[in-house]
């Protein structure tokens, strides 16, 4: 591999990793703070993409559709927490998996009724539609760089809110001892509602900003969901920092796993087995640290 190609692949890996972080951070947040396993997380990624498509069509401007989509996502999140999620806090993880799996089916059906089953697309906003030439025949869309910037911004914002603000303090306290926080006069119900809405909005936001470079189609969240779980497991359940590191690791391993040629003893390993690289990485890390990179000791 030429050095320039290597650098571009590095960029591809980091860029993919950052987008993964944006999707999976919501999942790890909801699990770490509320103890809820949300299987329907990928569906909200899809909902975000469809929101971007329908709102851009209705409003005619991606930049107005984005905040509108965020507001709608927050409202959906709060409604869902009030309607279904809050009954799960004192229940076993199995109930959570069952209920959020049911949510997947409901969301898929609603998507089919509301938006249909066709493949849709969102145009890249004009201001970011340029490409930067990298080599004589390949260029890099500015929009992809912008996605990375948004992901970094969200990561910084999450760190600041959780570590430096009063709300963040309540969130952290609620995560470690729900009853104690409640008896200190903090309405933990509201805190949880905010956290769940934030988690859902992060997934939807990822779907919205990915919509112009991706396509918008039924089931697009399913693949993302599996990788998100790998991110959360590698990074450590509930650790946002871990999710960031794990996302970047997966982005790089997945990217290079597809293009590096590797043979052991005449048996072609890569790229033939590239679909397994991410899972092999997960297995290796779990052997070394069963709690994940930044998870609480089990």
């Amino acid at each position: 591999m030429e050095f320039s190609t290597f650098l571009i692949q590095l960029l591809n890996g980091v860029q993919y990793g950052l987008l993964l972080f944006l999707v999976s951070s919501g999942l790890t947040l909801v699990f770490g703070i509320m103890g809820i396993i949300n299987i329907a997380h990928g569906s909200f990624y899809m909902v975000g993409a469809y929101l971007a498509w329908s709102l851009t069509g209705a409003i005619g401007n991606f930049w107005l559709a984005l905040p509108a989509g965020i507001v709608i996502s927050v409202l959906i999140g709060m409604l869902l927490e009030w309607l279904v999620i809050r009954w799960l806090y004192h229940r076993d993880h199995l109930y959570q998996v069952l209920l959020t799996y049911g949510l997947i089916l409901v969301v898929e059906e609603l998507r089919s009724v509301l938006w249909g089953d066709d493949v849709r697309g969102v145009d890249i906003p004009k201001i970011l539609s340029a490409s930067i030439p990298l080599t004589e025949n390949q260029s890099y869309p500015v929009y992809r760089l912008w996605i990375s910037a948004v992901c970094l911004l969200v990561a910084g914002l999450m760190y600041w809110v959780i570590q430096k603000t009063r709300l963040g303090m309540m969130i952290r306290a609620g995560a470690s001892n729900r009853e104690m926080v409640q008896s200190l006069g903090i309405n933990i119900q509201v805190v949880y509602r905010v956290v769940f809405a934030a988690g859902l909005t992060l997934a939807a936001l990822a779907g919205m900003i990915a919509a112009p470079v991706s396509a918008v189609f039924p089931g697009m969240g399913n693949h993302v969901l599996i990788v998100c779980f790998v991110v959360v497991v590698i990074g450590g359940m509930g650790s946002v920092k871990g999710a960031l590191i794990a996302s970047l690791l997966i982005g790089l391993v997945d990217t290079f796993g597809k293009v590096v040629t590797l043979a052991i003893g005449g048996f072609k390993v890569l790229p033939e087995l590239s679909s397994m690289t991410v899972y092999v990485l997960m297995a290796a890390i779990l052997l070394w640290r069963p709690e994940g990179l930044f998870g609480k000791r089990l």
């Binding site: 591999m1 030429e2 190609t5 571009i8 692949q9 591809n12 890996g13 860029q15 993919y16 089919s112 089953d117 066709d118 493949v119 849709r120 697309g121 145009d123 890249i124 490409s131 030439p133 080599t135 004589e136 025949n137 390949q138 260029s139 890099y140 869309p141 929009y143 992809r144 470079v213 991706s214 396509a215 918008v216 189609f217 039924p218 089931g219 697009m220 693949h223 997945d254 990217t255 290079f256 597809k258 293009v259 790229p271 033939e272 590239s274 679909s275």
Partner: protein, 404 residues
């Protein structure tokens, strides 16, 4: 038969009686069909009505119904009764669903389906039970290869065919000396790539590298960088649905469409052109159907379809329509008597279908032999630019595997 010989007298007289009865019935305006008088032919529609393939499923049913409507609501005087089942494109439910149609509803023919995995499950049951089966989409090779059976027909295509057609086109272009292929690594992806290679390598071309992606992964960026580094004369890609839309967009945004022309089997640009905006402009594909086929048959078909369903027909609707024509041809030969299965099958085998796609007949393995067109994306149409291969038959390896 049985018209002479004194030992057959009792039967003769019964026939005579029936004939007389039928004649009376004919006078009374009732169709004069001797056997199973008035019995409808039961057709099971096992198609996806929900999920990602709902649109093709509905198009296939519409196409079939259009053929029936044009025949006057009956095929060769035979009334048709439909029994519908939503297969959800879910292979794990295929066996249950097809058994329900064959065992419980006792259908005389099943039409299905879009998804190859589901169709494979259907074939296992129809092959054994012998119930007539028309496949209106699923393009996996073994359906008319190792799994073939006298009662199983396909009116759509085989994956290998549309790949092969593009291989022929590319091998005739002197400027295209080496190609990189990229596809999902699963059965269909491998068949589309094999078809291309079978034609292109034989024509003297060289496949520099085969790039594969696990199905249904849509993270293409790393492989696009590979293509840019290899700098082939063309890239041959197979993806479908949402994955195809994303691939075409990513390919264009990476700036590759300027230096490495993108080509593929027809499904790369089928049903996604509205979603990708202008990103697919100029992409060339091969398929047995396309936009702007100016034959009288196709014009009439498109007009009739649009009028009846208020929708534009597509390649799926064509296969549904041709399934209807195929059955009609068979029933005509046996005068609507679908109990004469052997004769019905023989007539369907030998049918020459005047399809909207052009002339079509069936191979010994019951796969369509039909022209493949070279199409080029212009605006939101897959415009036909010419014939890529005339009367293309299926993969010889598949045909050799078909024992019947």
């Amino acid at each position: 038969m049985g018209d002479n010989g004194s030992e057959k007298r009792p039967e003769l007289s019964r026939r005579g009686f029936l004939k007389a009865g039928a004649a009376v019935a004919g006078v009374a305006g009732i169709p004069a069909i001797a056997r199973a008088q008035g019995a409808k032919m039961k057709i099971g529609l096992m198609l996806p009505y929900t999920g990602a393939f709902a649109a093709p499923g509905i198009a296939i049913e519409n196409g079939f119904r259009l053929a029936l409507q044009e025949a006057g609501g009956k095929f060769a005087g035979r009334d048709i009764e439909f029994i519908k089942i939503d297969d959800e494109s879910e292979p794990s439910k295929a066996t249950d669903n097809i058994n329900r149609l064959v065992t419980r509803d006792k259908v005389d023919l099943v039409l299905g389906t879009v998804h190859s995995g589901v169709a494979a499950g259907m074939i296992r049951v129809t092959k054994e039970s012998g119930v007539l089966h028309i496949i209106p989409n699923a393009g996996f090779g073994p359906a008319t290869g190792a799994l073939c059976a006298p009662n199983i027909f396909r009116t759509s295509f085989s994956n290998w065919q549309s790949g092969f057609a593009m291989g022929v086109v590319m091998s005739k272009r002197p400027a295209v000396k080496n190609v990189v292929t990229i596809a999902w690594r699963y059965a269909a992806g491998e068949e589309f790539v094999k078809g291309f290679k079978d034609a292109y390598l034989k024509g003297g071309g060289k496949v520099t590298k085969e790039l594969w992606l696990p199905f249904p992964n849509v993270e293409f960026q790393a492989l696009l960088t590979e293509i840019a580094a290899i700098k082939p004369d063309a890239a041959y890609a197979f993806f479908a649905g949402g994955g195809a839309a994303k691939f075409v967009k990513d390919y264009n945004q990476a700036g590759l469409s300027k230096s490495v022309p993108l080509v593929g089997p027809g499904f790369l640009t089928e049903g996604v052109l509205d979603a990708v905006g202008g990103a697919a402009e100029g992409v060339e594909t091969t398929l047995h159907y396309g936009d702007g086929l100016e034959t009288p048959k196709n014009k009439a078909f498109r007009l009739g379809y649009a009028k009846t369903f208020k929708l534009q027909p597509d390649v799926y609707a064509v296969a549904g329509y041709d399934s209807g024509l195929l059955l009609e041809a068979g029933l005509k030969a046996v005068k609507g008597d679908f109990g004469r299965k052997a004769d019905l099958i023989k007539a369907m085998e030998n049918a020459k279908i005047d399809s909207p796609r052009g002339p079509m007949r069936l191979s010994k393995a019951h796969n369509p032999i039909h022209d493949h067109y070279l199409r080029k994306v212009v605006g939101n149409e897959n415009r036909v630019a010419g014939i890529a291969v005339k009367a293309l038959d299926d993969d010889p390896a598949m045909m050799a595997a078909c024992k019947m």
